[in-house]
Amino acid sequence: MNVAQMNSAATPAANPRQRQWLVDYSMPLGYVVLFAVLSATVENFFSLTNVVGLMLSVAQIGMVACTMMLCLASRDFDLSVGSTIAFAGVLGAMVLEHTGSVLLAVGAGLAAGAIIGAANGVLIAYLRVNALIATLATMLMVRGLAFIVSKGQAVGISNDAFIDFGDSRIFGLPLPVLVCAACFVVFGVLLNQTIFGRNTLAIGGNPEAARLAGVQVERLRVWIFLIQGVVTAMAGLILASRITSGQPNAAQGFELDVISACVLGGVSLLGGKARIFGVLIGVLIMGTVENVMNLLDVDAFYQYLMRGVILLAAVLLDQLKTRGERR
């Protein structure tokens, strides 16, 4: 029916089980190889501090990538995550400085995220606004709100309990990394082991068929966005804690990083396809590239070039194995 099939004609020998295995594990395997090569060749790469630093550097992206995966799997799109990170951070910081209560601050941040997410969901699912435009609009509005409430200034945080969250470690792993790991586990289970995840894939694969099969498409979509909002707000609060301030212009361009990580991990923008393991690898690749370039002191201008090249290399490699599969 398409190229894919025609190509497979060319390789009739491929054993389907082997093939499936290759498709499923080539990304992780590729990453393991990359990691080994880098460890051997790049000085200081393979050290506890560096690896922990690397993980810390992708903790926020990782958390949000988990929910973005669901969003993309349901054939939606969310550009507002960067702004939500900023807004949740700013709001949390302001509440914290006014009330001194960490609980209130976190509550306010998460509630804001939930509201933003739900608003996106309602706009897209019920009012049928194109997801790109709807979330572009919320992206602008939420960024505006972040600037307005903070008067354009970063909001400093002096509460030590809050700041410590971003700093403290358990078994040598920083809390943000653990939270991110927890997200991967939770959303991995959600995607693969629950009806929620299956229905998400179903509405991404064929919304009309899913609806006729009894999936409450609109409600599900709102939930997906709402969860995305909450997780993003959490990432924003953690970021605020790590950088000890709520920054209204934080995380600009964050949305593209997150979406790239997902796509790199094999999530289809056309919906219906997602693998949590792939997303994890996508996130790690993004972080590793950044990390290694800094370790190697690559010139800032060449970093652009390199990032582009590596992004391409990663998808091209991934392409090789899916030769013969549908795009």
Partner: protein
């Protein structure tokens, strides 16, 4: 002992200013024999990651121009956690409650002070041209979402007001992005709304912003003789403009010394790490107004 390795973190690696700072820091590294690692840190998240990265590379300290001054506590903590020495450059860091962070030595400019120099330079030129202040409109190409940008332009406007400029004659032109085209579009509208003025002056956060205003004015026939635009930075964009055969509305730029900032901070940090000298708690550098008339001289004085 291991060779000394220091980081130099700047908030906007693409900006010519920081490229220059890095270039001079490299020179210091060569002169003093230490290793320099340059990393761009466009936001708080990347900044923390870069500091951790430096630690993994076993750097002993870093010079930083943070993406936001309120990141002070984060910088301080990250440095302490990794046992590194830190000096701030350009922008002075503060903590959560807005207090200067005493433990981090600083060398830099005050955005507000630089802005004032812009305003003063313009005011002096208005006088020299014997314009009637009431007939002059001032465009503030604004990008208030960036705190330094606001400080600079406000400094300029305050200086103009101090010289007798009417507050009502100041027109804000908010640019959507910090490039010349956005400044052009914003200034264009400001000019449309205020055709009553005979003369114009323009200020902005950098040379590119002022350039946009100057181009927009030219589009309406407001040329060099009725326009005074003064930028900030003095790098290539300003140089191009000041070296055009005919004068344009771009009167000059307040040049700041990337050499001093880049070279001296790195040397100070090196000395601190090697135990030779503790850096001074604060050094304020000054900018100089560079115009067609005094270009060569200013460049020489600023050492570029």
């Amino acid at each position: 002992a291991d060779a000394v390795k220091i980081g130099f973190l700047v908030k906007q690696a693409e900006e010519p200013w920081f490229q220059d700072e890095w270039r001079y820091a490299e020179q210091a590294a060569k002169d003093k024999g230490f290793v320099l690692v340059k990393i761009g840190v466009p936001n708080g998240e990347k900044m923390i990651a870069a500091i951790d990265n430096l630690a993994a590379q076993k750097a002993q300290g870093f010079v930083i121009c943070a993406p936001d001054v309120k990141l002070g506590t984060a910088v301080e903590r990250a440095a302490r956690r990794n046992n590194m020495k830190v000096i701030s450059v350009d922008d002075r860091l503060v903590d959560g409650s807005g207090k200067l962070i005493a433990s981090i030595p600083h060398m830099g400019i005050s955005g507000y002070a630089i802005g004032k120099q812009v305003g003063e330079g313009i005011a002096a030129e208005i006088k020299a041209r014997k314009w009637n202040m009431a007939e002059v409109g001032a465009i503030r190409v604004a990008y208030d979402q960036l705190p330094t940008a606001r400080e600079r332009t406000m400094g300029a406007i305050d200086a103009l007001k101090a010289a007798g400029f009417a507050a009502a004659n100041v027109i804000d032109a908010p640019q959507a992005k910090t490039d010349t085209e956005s400044a052009f579009n914003a200034a264009n509208i400001a000019l449309t709304k205020n055709f009553r003025f005979k003369y114009w002056v323009a200020v902005g956060l950098n040379d590119e912003a002022v350039l946009g205003a100057v181009r927009a004015a030219e589009g309406r026939g407001i040329k060099a003789d009725s326009m005074i635009g003064v930028g900030i930075g003095g790098a290539k964009a300003a140089e191009n403009e000041l070296n055009k055969p005919a004068a344009t509305g771009f009167f000059g730029s307040v040049m700041i010394s990337a050499k001093e900032h880049g070279y001296q901070t790195s040397v100070n940090l090196f000395n601190w790490i090697t135990g030779k000298a503790v850096p001074p708690a604060e050094v304020q550098t000054r900018g100089m107004l560079m115009t067609r008339a005094n270009q060569a001289e200013v460049r020489k004085q600023m050492g570029q």
